[in-house]
Symmetry: C2
Subunit: 659 residues, 2 copies
């Protein structure tokens, strides 16, 4: 049995890695970019469109502003990326918002950062998977009714790949990520070439739809105008989710960890922003307009490759890898959620087992927990990512703000150091740095900007669902705190400070052996009991005169085993025989031997298989569970395995009751 389970596990998830192999499982920059950056990169598939979809409400003319808003988003992304690069270099063991905030602002703010980020990672998975499924069902409409099932399947698949280990998932995810980047770059370059008209032909402008929505509803007030611009900006900000992931995962990089992580971070920023800028520039220049049934990216691919040999191939390539990267974007969540969880667990704010690493050296519990939560969101929202988006991106923005304020405080400390001097924070070592004053400007400015964006996000999306997140974050923080409180209590209870061995509870020289009948199993338990006490009491709850007579008869028959043990028979007129049994044991521990440890020996019949266990009362198991309430009762299971005596034919007599 055990061997088979192990083998199935190994086939599904691969051979276990020894702990020392951890270094071999580290990520090179190519793989790291694929698994950490899939979310920021995939944002390009929809960020431009998200901005345009809001602007279109102001009329088709307003689409001209897409590029400006796009540039604002891009500036924000680059600001955060460079700010985080600083963080990574200062926190070489991993420096996500939780760690950095804890180190500089204290526990409570760090818990807010962690709660916000974890909520956002769950949403990353639900949103990405749902968006990916929408891309698939747009291509194959007959699959539409199965959207939820497909999304759950995608989550299952991602869970499986992630459980197989970080390097393996890096390998799997590299191809679609880079293929997407190449494909999008190709159409951007093609678009630029056509716009500049180097080859003589201007790109074929698609037929212009006329949108007069806003005008037709009357005058646009100044307020509404600004409001919609802000909303368009907020929509574009979904491109910022997932930037955090690399900073938490520094420890997963090959050495030198922080240098490699910082390089990967910058590469991610440059790639994501080139694509975003390129798409936005081309899309606005050839006059694309968001429509219901085709994405901007797809329209653009068709437009720029329109009357070109091999154009269909490029366009198909982009569409295929867009679908894939949308699903894979979820992986950023799969990377970071379990890591943040393990940091919290190490500090006692999440269940301890969240920090345990599985056979493949990944945080199994965190991965499974994330998959489970994301699946719930997918089911609740029926795999409709449009309805999830208002809840999204708030969390990261809170994380960014807190993390950057923390970096400002860290630079304040660094500035106090003299040249050559070093100091120790709770987490990391800081050295004197030249120009620390100037470096501080980056997170300083960044924190103000992300703080303002956070307010904009909450304000513009509050009623559509952002309030859920605003309520959920403090609740989650409270949960973290009560988990920690429990662990503190346990630690105190188990602590050996002031431990005095004379306080130890004494052992009471009494052993109680409950038995329903006298057979080989109970005789074995009795013989065992006599080995370590002279005060052995066999106890049986009697529900019929026949049972009493039979027990007494057999007791006397096996005098050489029962010896001078006491046989206690308790008459009982109900069927739940455990109640009088537990009451008797309770009296012995509370009244007869208060403050001493008594022993109960349970003869336990072990059926050969799960199916066989269904045929037996679970009396021994239930008794053990009910006795857990008593502080001073040690419970001994004496197992009894049935052996087949193949030589004898099965008896035709009625089977004896067993425990």
């Amino acid at each position: 049995m055990a061997i088979n389970t192990r083998r199935i596990k190994n086939i599904l998830f691969g051979e276990p890695f020894p702990t020392r192999a951890e270094i071999h499982e580290r990520l090179d920059k190519v793989r790291a970019l694929a698994i950490f950056a899939s979310d920021p990169i995939s944002s390009n598939a929809y960020a431009t469109e998200a901005i345009m979809s809001v602007l279109i409400l102001l009329g088709a003319g307003a689409l001209r502003m897409t590029l400006f808003i796009g540039l604002a988003v891009m500036a924000l992304v680059l600001l955060v990326v460079f700010s985080y690069t600083q963080t990574i270099l200062h926190y070489p063991k991993g420096g996500g918002a939780y760690i950095v905030t804890k180190d500089n602002l204290g526990t409570l703010p760090s818990l807010f950062a962690a709660a916000a980020l974890m909520i956002d990672y769950v949403l990353t998975v639900s949103v990405s998977v749902s968006a990916g499924v929408r891309a698939i069902t747009s291509a194959i409409p007959s699959l539409f009714p199965h959207s939820v099932a497909l999304a759950l399947l995608a989550i299952l698949l991602l869970t499986w790949i992630n459980l197989r280990g970080v390097r393996e998932s890096g390998t799997v995810f590299a191809l679609p990520t880079y293929a997407f980047v190449v494909g999008v770059l190709a159409i951007v370059i093609l678009g630029l070439v056509r716009i500049t008209g180097i080859f003589g032909a201007a790109p074929p402008v698609l037929p212009q739809h006329t949108f007069e929505v806003a005008q037709s509803t009357g005058q646009i007030t100044q307020f509404l105008y600004i409001w919609l611009i802000l909303r368009a900006f907020a929509a574009g900000c979904t491109a910022l989710t997932g930037i955090e992931a690399i900073s938490d995962g520094v420890a997963a990089f090959k050495p030198p960890e922080s240098k490699n992580a910082a390089t990967t971070m910058i590469a991610m920023g440059i790639i994501a922003m080139s694509l975003f800028l390129g798409i936005t520039f081309v899309a606005t220049h050839i006059g694309l307009v968001p429509i219901e049934h085709e994405s901007i990216l797809s329209q653009m691919a068709r437009a720029v490759t329109g009357n070109m040999p091999g154009g269909g191939f490029i366009s198909g390539w982009v569409q295929l890898f867009t679908m894939l990267i949308l699903v894979l974007a979820a992986n950023t969540g799969f990377q970071d959620f379990p890591r943040v969880g393990s940091f919290l667990a190490a500090d006692g704010f999440m269940p301890r087992w969240v920090q345990n690493r599985g056979d493949r050296l990944v945080y199994n519990s965190g991965i499974i927990m994330l998959a489970f939560l994301a699946a719930i969101i997918v089911v609740i929202f029926r795999a409709n990512e449009i309805h999830m988006l208002p809840l999204y991106a708030l969390g990261v923005m809170l994380g960014f703000t807190l993390s950057q304020i923390s970096m400002v405080k860290l630079f304040n400390k660094i500035m106090k150091l003299k040249p050559g001097e070093t100091a120790q924070t709770t987490v990391t070592t800081i050295h004197h740095e030249a120009h620390a004053k100037w470096k501080r400007l980056l997170p300083g400015f960044g924190s103000i900007v992300t703080g303002v964006v956070l307010v904009i996000l909450i304000a513009t999306k509050f009623m559509e669902g952002a309030w859920i997140v605003v309520v959920a974050i403090p609740l989650l923080v409270q949960l973290f705190r009560s988990i920690r409180k429990h662990y503190d209590m346990v630690a105190e209870g188990l602590s050996v400070r002031n431990f005095d061995s004379s306080q130890m509870r004494q052992y009471a020289d009494v052993v109680i052996v409950p038995m329903a009948d006298i057979h080989r199993g109970s005789l074995r338990a009795l013989a065992y009991a006599r080995q370590f006490s002279d005060n052995v009491r066999a106890i049986s709850i009697i529900t019929s005169p026949e049972q009493k007579e039979r027990l007494q008869r057999r007791w006397d028959r096996f005098k050489d085993v029962t010896g001078d043990c006491e046989l206690i028979l308790i008459d009982y007129d109900y069927r739940d025989i455990l109640t009088p049994l537990v009451n008797y044991i309770g009296d012995v521990t509370n009244k007869e031997f208060p403050g001493k440890l008594i022993t109960v020996i349970v003869p336990e019949f072990i059926p050969g298989s799960f199916w066989a266990s269904l045929l037996h009362n679970q009396t021994a198991n239930i008794l053990r569970i009910r006795l857990r309430g008593y502080e001073d009762v040690a419970v001994v299971d004496v197992p009894y395995h049935i052996r087949k005596h193949k030589s004898e034919p099965p008896t035709a007599t009625q089977p004896t009751n067993e425990n």
Copy 2:
């Protein structure tokens, strides 16, 4: 916690009855008729119509034959009822097909009888509940989409009432049962009065529909004609299900049990047959024709009360109680299935716990098992009883046949007795009887008739689903036999025949204490271990150098507790620390002390609540489960409860790992 569960249980199901109160929970004849006979009596709601629905295929003229086929069914019912009355008188402790067949034909045939009956009782519940729900959704069509949910709700309700005890359900069911009988009797009498024209007015004959289905499809062959007559008869035979129930439930009657049961049986037969004959007679005489959207019974109620003051009330009464009795008919299954199950369990053919009686002295497990199986059938067949009917009534017919053949054999034994002589069968006592030879004719003839009917049922319904039952019965018999085989093996293993106390395994003077850390809990376990062995080995699986150093340091610090115990540290480079632990223990039991009982002490930290337990590794539990595979390892749980020291503030240090 425990008190609250108990209180909720008491509110839901009532206070537990003591075992000696069983006699007070016995049924008088009025209640017994209501709970056992609801199925046979409810058959009147549809049996006539079932026959007519088949005959109509031969043309409206063929409906004249309804009465003759009805008389045939009636004759069959009376035959079985009187035959079973004999059985009850000869088996005063209960004499359903299983017991009687076991006593006279042997184990294997009796298992076939039991399997057939149990399958039929599951179907009784699914069919009745679905038919009742159809009656409700006919009245309130908007409920139709919720048929399955309503049927499941009805099953839940019946389960609940039955779990509250037999007398209480008798009281609850009496009103609708008798109200139905009174209502139907009233319209039958009204119908007869009108037909005879005593009050001058012949009953208003409903507009005659013309059915020419069979004719229009061409010539009816002789074979088809007989085939359809047989099918009509087979359809009427569903009226026979549930007759068996009283004979199994004799022990539930007030004393004199068998006399009261026999009287109730006869009363049931007379009531059911008067209603059936009355409905069939009136329905054919006023020329009713089965139509899709209204039942024959409802048509008849409207017809005979048509232009009469208060007629609407009578008609409404009949419709209301028809609905109710259709649902309640399921209760016959709830009575008999658990009883047959308990007989089988007592003989080791079903899990032993099926014979345990719950707090209210009913067979809880059997009731819940039945509800569960019936719910599955309801879900599979989407609460459509029409599709279930072909599977139905076969089982009872096999039971009747086997039971009556058994009675013939019993009478053969009785006939051999001289006047005044008595003899003992495996189950009951038989006496000399006058006219035993003549009495034997009843079951003799009955078994031939039900045997022929069984063949007809299988032949006419085989392809529509009866084959499922034909396949299922032998499979179930095989399951019974393998359960018994398991119990035989267990009984042999536990048996104290040839028991020799010198064969008992010896106790090895070694105690192993696995520990992850040294804290109050593990020190307590260690101190306990030292009480009963001088060879105590503390064992810890080491996954990091820090852990090793810390353990060794603390071990030395608490020398007064650890004493001369051995500390075994095993380095391990994977995370599943239980594997090396179990391997070590396996080596000790198999290689170091083969054939001797060794002891493992597990310090177990007991969290205060279920939620708290989620925060801790289940290491102790999993270890216990994995050690169950070893025959000679006794496992001791030494519990450690956390106490709150309210005086001290919670420590801010990082919590220690606990087990």
